[in-house]
Assembly symmetry: C2
Homo-oligomer: 206 residues x 2
């Protein structure tokens, strides 16, 4: 009479659900949420619409799961950069890492979160809000890290950690957009280097 058993009865799923989700992420990454149609998704995932809906709910929920996958990648930009001890290395790591990751040819160019947020009319307001929430969560991590650095005397007293985090975010958005538009790794590295140089000179004690 133990009815709490996992469901393994019925016809087995004919595709790898994790791999399908990864393909979906790639499409959203490339085209954004509104720019991606169900047909594009099913084609990329190699499944038909009813299978997609049975496995992922609907387009919106599929998007959220794809973004979860994106943010939990081991090579997450912010996670890698935060491994550095000195805030100067964190800042350099974030900017140079963004240049590298946004132009990595093994996946679509730019940042998936930045690419997805645009051109969402009122219909997909929840998408916009969710992406905004994620972005502000990431920004808060930057704020916390910079506040820590300031408390440890690494940052000038004149430096507002909030403003510095906003500036970093703005640079990510710019780098992401330029990568999406086809900028090369070399170009973005130069831009990131110049940006880092200015930020470090003004805000970091030495």
């Amino acid at each position: 009479m133990t009815t709490t058993k996992a469901a393994c009865v019925g016809r087995p799923r004919g595709f790898d659900i994790d791999l399908a989700l990864e393909q979906a992420l790639n499409v959203f990454w490339r085209n954004g949420y509104e720019g991606t149609s169900l047909n594009e998704l099913t084609e990329a995932m190699g499944i038909k619409k009813p299978s997609l809906y049975a496995a992922f709910g609907n387009k919106e929920q599929l998007f959220f799961k794809a973004i979860d996958l994106y943010e939990n990648r081991p090579d997450s930009l912010i996670n890698i950069a935060f491994q550095h001890e000195r805030v100067a290395d964190v800042i350099r790591g974030l900017l140079l890492g963004a240049a590298a990751q946004f132009t990595d040819c093994s996946h679509p160019q730019g940042c998936a979160l930045m690419n997805s947020t645009f051109s969402c009319n009122e219909a997909s307001e929840s998408i916009k809000q969710t992406v905004l929430k994620r972005k502000s969560k990431h920004k808060q991590r930057l704020v916390d890290r910079f506040e820590l650095a300031q408390n440890q005397g690494e940052l000038q007293e004149s430096c507002d950690p909030e403003v510095l985090a906003s500036l970093m975010t703005a640079l990510f958005q710019g780098l992401s957009m330029q990568a999406s538009e086809g900028a090369s790794l070399d170009e973005l590295q130069k831009v990131a280097t110049m940006a880092a140089e200015g930020i470090l000179t003004v805000n970091v004690k030495r």
Copy 2:
């Protein structure tokens, strides 16, 4: 037998074509190209679809005309900033001007060109290409101005005008996005100030 006369016969147009175009620009500015539907346009412009098509061609041509209107505004950011003699003032003017203009409440937030470029799937590739061309034209104006400044000894020899122009463009994109997401004038001014400070310290002789 002079047949080359202007057309002033027939039922007169019942709306102001310039004002209608301005309304169309506002909608594109707010929602981007793909995010804007014909119904939204006609409602905002106060006309019906056949009138729109008779006056402007189609959605794509209407968009191009709206962007023309946007770029030929007298208070164009770049035109104002370029009035300064010293490149330091130009850079400050561009960044602070962007902060001010992108948060100006008399029109949608952010830069219309930046807002429009996103989420264009293959169907509207020509839109994407056109917007890209406009953006790179603006970037080239920055490159030229910075090259001039370097020739006049205002910029460090180590400064690559191309890279500096890319960095400025990236900052515009970031500021535009943050404005679109609801950032205040005060926030953006602080970000722009910090960015300008870093750029000037590193690249401008004094």
